[in-house]
């Protein structure tokens, strides 16, 4: 009699504990693991510089960064904001334009055949070469130029992913609605659009980091002194090497923030595509 209840109660206890433990592990893993990785990275960086005895004009070390941030804190805030909003606007334009081009190519075979070489060629042109052209074309319109380059560099993956998502829609999905007399617009809103969302967000994650590259290209090259790119450039001209590294870290931080905003949006709008690990 004594051991009869145990097989019943024991697994239940184990299960209850297990569920709590799993939750704890997940919590700690998703928060603690990346922080630990960053700390390890900083320690290795510091060690590398220390072991080689590099002066800060060869490579600044993490311990050089806090003073750099402290002395230019207000500049970091102002210029960080300039970089951020222009990147986000460029990205927003890229989303609108990229989705539009993707829809045109996704629904029409002719347009897909016609536009693909043009798009690929356009994407293959290094944007660093386009920067001076744009800067000369719209002299003085610094904000506009920066947004334009951020947009140009980031719309390609969005256009391609949307067009692929739409053109690979299985015919049965269409038939289900078409046999009920649904219009093309209804089929797009009810089926084609939601089905393409996972591909779209995948591309958006790539586009986010690309847009930062575009913004900074313009900021470094153009002489208007705005954005983190300009701050980087001033560090270079003033031989303030820790400042240059501090800008890089600030850019990385902004990139991570925007990336995780996209991830949160993806969870909200396309969370269904994520299968539970069990």
């Amino acid at each position: 009699m004594a051991d009869i209840p145990s097989p019943v109660t024991r697994p239940r206890q184990a299960l209850g504990l297990g569920a709590g433990r799993v939750k704890d592990t997940l919590l700690s893993r998703s928060v603690v693991a990346p922080i630990a990785a960053v700390i390890v990275f900083l320690i290795l960086w510091e060690l590398l510089v220390w072991a080689n005895g590099w002066p800060d004009y060869v490579m600044a070390s993490p311990s050089d960064l806090p003073p750099a941030y402290a002395s230019y804190w207000d500049l970091f805030l102002v210029m960080g904001w300039q970089t951020l909003w222009r990147t986000v606007v460029g990205l927003a334009v890229a989303v609108v334009f990229g989705v539009a081009v993707g829809m045109i190519m996704g629904f029409s075979r002719t347009m897909r055949d016609a536009l693909y070489p043009l798009l690929v060629g356009f994407n293959a042109v290094p944007k660093a070469t386009v920067v001076p052209i744009v800067a000369l074309l719209f002299v003085g319109a610094h904000d506009f130029n920066t947004v334009l380059i951020a947009f140009m560099i980031s719309f390609f993956p969005i256009a391609v992913s949307v067009s692929i998502g739409l053109s690979t829609l299985e015919p049965e999905y269409r038939d289900i609605l078409r046999s009920l007399g649904a219009s093309q617009a209804t089929i797009f809103w009810k089926i084609a659009l939601p089905k393409t969302l996972p591909e779209f967000f995948g591309a958006l994650k790539v586009a986010v980091t690309l847009a930062f590259i575009g913004t900074n290209l313009m900021e470094i090259v153009s002489p208007h002194g705005r954005g983190l790119g300009a701050l980087f450039d001033s560090g270079k001209t003033n031989s303030d090497y820790p400042l240059m590294f501090a800008v890089l870290i600030a850019l990385a931080f902004l990139g991570i923030v925007l990336y995780y905003i996209v991830v949160a949006l993806e969870k909200t709008f396309a969370g269904w595509a994520e299968r539970s690990p069990t």
């Binding site: 038939d175 609605l177 046999s179 009920l180 007399g181 009810k190 939601p194 089905k195 969302l197 396309a270």
Partner: protein, 279 residues
């Protein structure tokens, strides 16, 4: 008895790069209101083309398809379809998947009434408690049950089934056959079932039509007496074995593997085939 589905002398060819490919040749099938007709035939004989013609997704080159005496020239909301692939929308819950047709066809139902209708159907096919699950959380058989509910939720006059049980394992398939009978007892619809499974055809249908090889015409029609709600045991009777043998022989003729004989009265099965048909 009036014929709800009336397919008259339908001839159709697909235009391919190597010229026209005829798939249907003077095909005529009539299904009475409330009837259930199964269409069997060799692979690639144009069975799926037939479903697209009835659904109004395609217009035949010659002949016509009439529903209620009215010629079909475009898709209509009085048709429900289920395919071998359940094509459920992964981003919707099972309940919202079933409701989908009610969002397309004109209806006066309120959201709450639509939900009630969908819930009733889901409960009828044994999916109580799965309304809020995603399709990816369900097994293949359950997804196909949900797909059947979606095909019926807007009370279509015509239910088109294009091998809906083809991809399921044998036990699940037999379960779903019985579900199909329950649905027929509770709901009013006229059905055309495309299938490769002869046992399925005689278990579900009132009439089995054997199509010839491509271009297909109605080669043979076998009536199956209606015995009300059928049970699986009826598949293992002498009458069932005889029907299966007739159909098997007709399929062999359609495939060009046997000579046409007077099959209706005297099926000529090779020795031992009756036993095979029973297993």
């Amino acid at each position: 008895m009036s014929h709800l589905i009336d397919i008259r002398g339908v001839t159709h060819a697909y235009r391919t790069e190597s010229g026209p490919l005829p798939v249907l040749d003077g095909l005529s099938i009539a299904v009475p209101e409330g009837g259930f007709t199964a269409v069997v035939g060799p692979s690639g004989c144009g069975k799926s083309t037939l479903t697209r013609l009835i659904a109004g997704l395609m217009i035949p080159d010659e002949g016509e398809v009439r529903l209620h005496g009215e010629r079909v020239t475009s898709p209509r909301s009085t048709v429900g379809m289920a395919f071998q692939n359940p094509v459920l929308l992964e981003w919707r819950t099972i309940l919202d998947n079933v409701i989908l047709p009610l969002e397309i066809v004109p209806t006066k139902l309120k959201r709450r009434e639509k939900e009630e209708r969908a819930r009733r159907l889901l409960s009828l096919v044994g999916l109580d408690g799965f309304e809020d699950k995603r399709p990816s959380e369900l097994s293949g058989g359950m997804r196909q049950r949900a797909s059947l509910c979606r095909a019926l939720v807007h009370k279509p006059e015509v239910l088109i089934l294009d091998e809906p049980f083809g991809a399921l394992d044998a036990f699940t398939r037999e379960d779903l056959w019985q579900t199909m009978h329950q649905l027929r007892a509770e709901e009013t619809f006229t059905s055309v079932l495309i299938t490769h499974d002869l046992r399925e055809s005689i278990f579900l249908a009132d009439e089995v039509v054997v199509l010839s090889g491509r271009p297909a015409t109605a080669q043979y029609k076998l009536p199956v007496p209606d015995t009300g709600l059928r049970t699986l045991d009826e598949l293992y009777t002498a009458e069932a074995a005889e029907r299966l043998n007739i159909l098997r022989h007709q399929i062999e003729i359609a495939q060009g593997r046997a000579e046409p004989t007077d099959t209706a009265s005297q099926p000529a099965p090779p020795p031992g085939s009756a036993a095979q048909a029973l297993t």
